[in-house]
Symmetry: C2
């Protein structure tokens, strides 16, 4: 495509490097910015720069944070349980449910030999270390990973690594989503939901 | 939603101001940038800033350009015809067809009383001025506007304004797209395509 201006060409090229954004969408976004007050673009540009340069990760739970110590050690949290997730949005999603008040551990990725991501590329060693150093204070590890081949591989690896420790390992329930119709649920999920059926009781 | 970091909250807020991008997509883009080398974000941020600060519009045809004089006056172009379009991507789309080698005139918008955009907000006066000052060199104006209420209003206004000048006014053909099926074409388009039928001949 021939661009009428080098500046717009450069901007479109950079924007379209973002995932899920092609050249046409990038062009639409660039034109949008040109029609807004310059201040808008300055704020956007500055916030991206600051995000990249100043973001830290908590050295304990590896969540994205403003400092190297996030709120994961505050007294109001249940220090006996760690929920293991792949990335920060998962933490936000679980926190938003209001059903969990324990600690988190962000792996920052998932074991995927196909993509060349091995166990040493995700924060598993650091999880084992947390458990080892807790002197039995951590009683339970909840694995909240995707039900994909990679998620299962990662879960299996973590379970193996945790074998020497006297700790309960659980996984979030797999089943039919609330509001989901039985008829349209895939066989695997339906089969699993029968195998892992729970005793009928009033949900809290 | 509760964000684990102020920096990511700010970035997500700014990114999600862009059209068609919600908070979830903004979060995904922010996390993507965090996983890429810092250089990537710097290039993106800098190109946006430069785009907004240094982009100029050609003072003749109002296309987005690096300078205030674009290539619209170069001798290789047919100086006798001006194609009127709403915005810069339309110019690029027409240029990509390779079927047009004349001049352009970018209105920079379209008359839309509903959105409070009147004739004085788009570059119509400047088009009339180009025609008036051309001393008859410009022989034809092609209107390449959308077939919406706003597009038709704008076309009608331009035609009225051009009445005093001895100039041919044409509009791009409306009809069934190449590859389109007759059966699924809307009645309005089909009706129009019969009324404005063309003599059968070998297309160039």
């Amino acid at each position: 495509m021939e661009y009428p201006s080098k500046l717009i060409e450069k901007a479109v090229n950079e924007i379209s490097k973002l995932p899920g954004i092609g050249k046409k969408t990038a062009m639409r976004l660039a034109l949008h910015l040109l029609k807004q007050p310059a201040e808008e673009t300055h704020l956007l540009s500055e916030s991206l720069q600051k995000l990249r340069d100043d973001t830290r990760y908590c050295r304990t739970c590896h969540i994205i944070s403003d400092t190297e110590d996030c709120t994961c050690k505050t007294i109001s949290k249940d220090q006996s349980v760690i929920c293991v997730v792949e990335d920060t949005p998962d933490v936000m999603a679980i926190q938003n449910t209001g059903q969990y008040n324990g600690l988190f551990h962000v792996l920052g990725g998932i074991i995927s030999p196909m993509d060349g991501i091995g166990p040493e590329d995700v924060k598993i060693d650091s999880l084992i270390q947390r458990v080892a150093e807790s002197d039995g204070e951590i009683k339970e590890i909840i694995l909240a990973l995707s039900t994909t081949m990679e998620g299962d591989t990662t879960a299996f690896y973590i379970i193996k690594k945790l074998e020497p420790y006297d700790i309960k390992i659980t996984t979030i329930a797999r089943g039919i989503p609330i509001g989901g119709e039985l008829e349209y649920t895939d066989e695997l999920t339906l089969g699993r939901s029968i195998l892992t059926r729970t005793v009928y009781e009033q949900t809290p």
